[in-house]
């Protein structure tokens, strides 16, 4: 439950069994065991994955690398997957996805996460500026289908751009740790050499493993990487002539991903391309006119946004979400918004993009909104 070192594992499994027992559950009803364990150590939990930040570094000016020591609930990950990381900023919990960049074979069981701080980004800026050793964050278990298959492919092509380097870095490190025999090409694009997050380690790996080829493309003309300019067919054919035979893993900014995807589709080899979107959310234009759709994810219904409160719109769509006062005081109607933005009819304030709980009786959608209803 607590530490993962082998000498305490025996103790911790025994303790875990006791703490997970029905008697302890009955003693701690209705709050549950975790609410008492926290009194002793903020990372202790029977179910939740929590992790302590043990080291913080800044590989480039606008990025931050965190080393996380997860508690015993962490079940590990497959190279390329992501975790949902939750931090608390000014009293409010915020959750964002990050792809661990370390090898799945890392002996210390720690997780390495690298975030690029976006200029207008809330969480990434916070991590860049505020993350300190000793802080505790909450994690989800690893998720996502973008991952190295169990049956490792022979020829591997990893293509990344900007902060999209993290999941493919996990793949590269994992394959190297496994002594992978097949050829690996690591193709990375970024603005300039100073923005390349794992620059030193990549150079080291390329020098140490003869089967690993490192190709860097810098957008700035005066910089000399192995490649010049943005991704294009000519460049790829010259640099990686056998790309069609490779299992390719792609993660990067939308424009670059689109270009790569298009090429693979044109060549009819789309099934050899695996990709991950970091989806920098599109900025919603705030408009007084009702636009977009209201999507009710759980009940799989869709309605055109008519500008009424989400509760009214849900009911008009034939759904019966729980509701009470219908005026924003009882919180009965609170439900999870999965995406999109809403306006609070009482304050007139425009809410945040992304996942959060909202009171649907006093929220009108601004553009397309997806609710977990």
């Amino acid at each position: 439950m607590i530490a993962t070192s082998p000498n305490t594992r025996f103790l911790s499994t025994g303790l875990r069994r006791v703490l997970g027992s029905r008697v302890v559950a009955a003693m701690t009803t209705p709050h549950g065991v975790d609410r008492y364990l926290e009194l002793f150590d903020p990372t202790w939990s029977v179910n939740e994955v929590r992790a302590e930040i043990t080291a913080v570094s800044h590989p480039t000016a606008d990025s931050v690398t965190l080393i996380l020591r997860p508690n015993g609930n962490w079940q590990g990950f497959r190279a390329g997957q992501f975790v949902r990381l939750t931090v608390e900023i000014d009293g409010v919990r915020r959750t964002r996805c990050y792809s661990p960049a370390n090898s799945v074979h890392a002996a210390d069981g720690k997780i390495e996460v690298t975030a690029k701080a976006h200029a207008g980004g809330f969480v990434s800026r916070f991590l860049r500026e505020q993350a300190r050793p000793g802080m505790v964050v909450t994690l989800s278990q690893a998720d996502g289908s973008f991952a190295l298959p169990e049956q490792r492919p022979g020829r591997v092509l990893l293509i990344s751009g900007g902060s999209g380097i993290t999941p493919v870095m996990a793949m590269l490190r994992t394959l190297c740790d496994e002594g992978h025999a097949g050829r690996i090409t690591f193709l990375h694009y970024c603005n300039a050499a100073k923005d390349l997050i794992y620059a030193e380690e990549l150079a080291e790996i390329a020098a140490r493993y003869p089967n690993v080829e490192l190709l860097r493309g810098f957008a700035a003309v005066e910089q000399c990487g192995e490649l010049q300019g943005l991704f294009n067919r000519e460049q790829l054919v010259t640099a990686v002539p056998d790309y069609a035979e490779a299992s390719t893993f792609l993660c990067g900014p939308p424009g670059m991903m689109k270009a790569v995807q298009q090429l693979w589709v044109e060549d009819g080899i789309a099934e050899r391309l695996h990709l991950e979107n970091f989806t920098a959310a599109p900025v919603v234009v705030d408009s007084a006119n009702a636009e977009g759709d209201v999507r009710f994810a759980r009940s799989e219904r869709l309605a055109a946004n008519n500008g009424a409160s989400l509760l009214d719109q849900a009911e008009a769509a034939g759904l019966r979400p729980e509701a009470g006062c219908r005026m924003g005081i009882c919180h009965t109607c609170t439900c999870r918004k999965l995406s999109g933005r809403v306006r609070d009819t009482r304050t007139g304030q425009l809410g945040e993009e992304g996942e959060e709980d909202i009171q649907i009786c006093v929220s009108v959608p601004v553009g397309t909104v997806t609710l977990d209803v």
């Binding site: 009803t29 009293g91 409010v92 005081i329």
Partner: protein, 370 residues
């Protein structure tokens, strides 16, 4: 005459805007301070609970243990449970402090409570036939309630209500009087409704009266009695605080007609007239879950309660400005006043069943039909 009829529609609108303004200002300011406050309190409550249960097993520390567990239960139910279940901390996005998930150390299920309290009591505060808290179907608390002979027992029933408060509240949603007295509910219906309630009650009873006594081995009787005492202390205190918030003599009750075309301004004024505060120090406020600021709580039920003390002067100033009463007094004064009402109403009163307030709305009504 009700204070309600003294205001013009324009004034209602202006009052609504002033209260909205306070609310928006506090909302915009919510942050780490509030998060730290509630987390610290939860930590203290859990420590008191664990400490109390342990001390109760050791004879010399038994009285301390009872005191600690009593305080723990009061904090758990009032400043933590009641307030968290109002959604006061939903904005934090912390699943353990969220109104959807939180459950309290009380026989009452969270689900039930949120229906009878957050929805019925807070939306329809002091509106007869709509706010079940006006007498809990048991007592006569307003002259507008028709007198029946059963109300002769108003006083002893109030004492019983205080004693078994958590269990009364737990079965409140059964609306027992509809079965026992008015026969509008069948026994089968009652049984079905009782099932989920019994599930929670059973767990609470097992914890306090079986599990912990058994764990104490030879000290079982001590622990059993200690737990009875702690539950009793919490029951009496919580019930007294709640009664003081709505039943001192000058607090108004309203006929159902008040709800017709009610605007936000009207709703605010009704909350104001239907609630009463009591004064005290910081400890008193925390121990009463800041329901000592019942007026502020009813105006802003989902603002973190520790903020009420800060906005109370502004609320009071608004009352003065519009000539509205701001009902407050010491705990003792409000208690005496409440009991006076309970005594008086056990007997028939002359103006029973009178009084229909004319709706004065001109603005958009607040609640649209479902």
């Amino acid at each position: 005459m009700s204070n309600f009829s003294k205001l013009s529609p324009k004034q209602f609108a202006a009052i609504g805007a002033e209260f909205d303004d306070i609310r928006n200002r506090v909302l915009a300011d919510l942050g780490e301070r509030d998060a730290n406050y509630i987390r610290t309190l939860v930590k203290r409550q859990r420590r008191l609970e664990v400490g109390g249960r342990v001390m109760m097993m050791i004879p010399p520390t038994w009285p301390l243990g009872v005191a600690a567990l009593s305080v723990s239960k009061i904090l758990d139910n009032m400043e933590i449970g009641h307030n968290v279940m109002h959604g006061q901390y939903d904005w934090m996005g912390d699943p353990t402090l969220n109104s959807k998930n939180f459950d309290w150390d009380s026989a009452d299920t969270a689900k039930n409570w949120k229906q009878t309290h957050n929805v019925e009591h807070h939306t329809y505060t002091n509106v007869l036939n709509r706010d079940h808290d006006v007498g809990y179907g048991l007592l006569r608390m307003s002259t507008q309630q028709k007198w029946e002979p059963r109300f002769l027992a108003n006083v002893p029933l109030t004492v019983i209500l205080h004693t078994f408060f958590q269990h009364f509240v737990a079965v409140q949603n059964l609306k027992l009087e509809e079965y026992l007295i008015y026969k509008t509910k069948t026994g089968a219906q009652l049984k079905e409704d009782f099932k989920p309630m019994w599930k929670k009650m059973r767990k609470q009873l097992a914890k306090d009266y079986v599990l912990f006594p058994v764990l104490a081995g030879p000290m079982a009787p001590l622990v059993f009695v200690g737990n009875v005492a702690a539950n009793l202390a919490r029951n009496v205190w919580a019930c007294a605080v709640i009664f003081n918030g709505h039943f001192p003599e000058d607090v108004e009750q309203f006929p159902e007609s008040v709800l017709e075309n009610e605007t936000r301004g009207h709703w605010y004024v009704r909350q104001l007239l239907g609630s009463a505060n009591f004064s005290g120090g910081r400890l008193m406020h925390i121990m009463s879950g800041n329901l000592s600021f019942q007026i502020e709580h009813h105006l802003f039920p989902d603002l973190p309660a520790h903020r009420y003390a800060e906005i109370a002067p502004e609320v009071r100033a608004i009352c003065e400005k519009y000539g509205l009463p701001y009902n407050t007094g010491t705990f003792l004064q409000q208690t005496l006043s409440t009991w006076k009402r309970i005594f008086k109403l056990s007997l028939p009163t002359r103006d029973a069943g009178r009084g229909r307030l004319e709706p004065v709305a001109e603005e958009v009504p607040l609640r649209m039909a479902a």
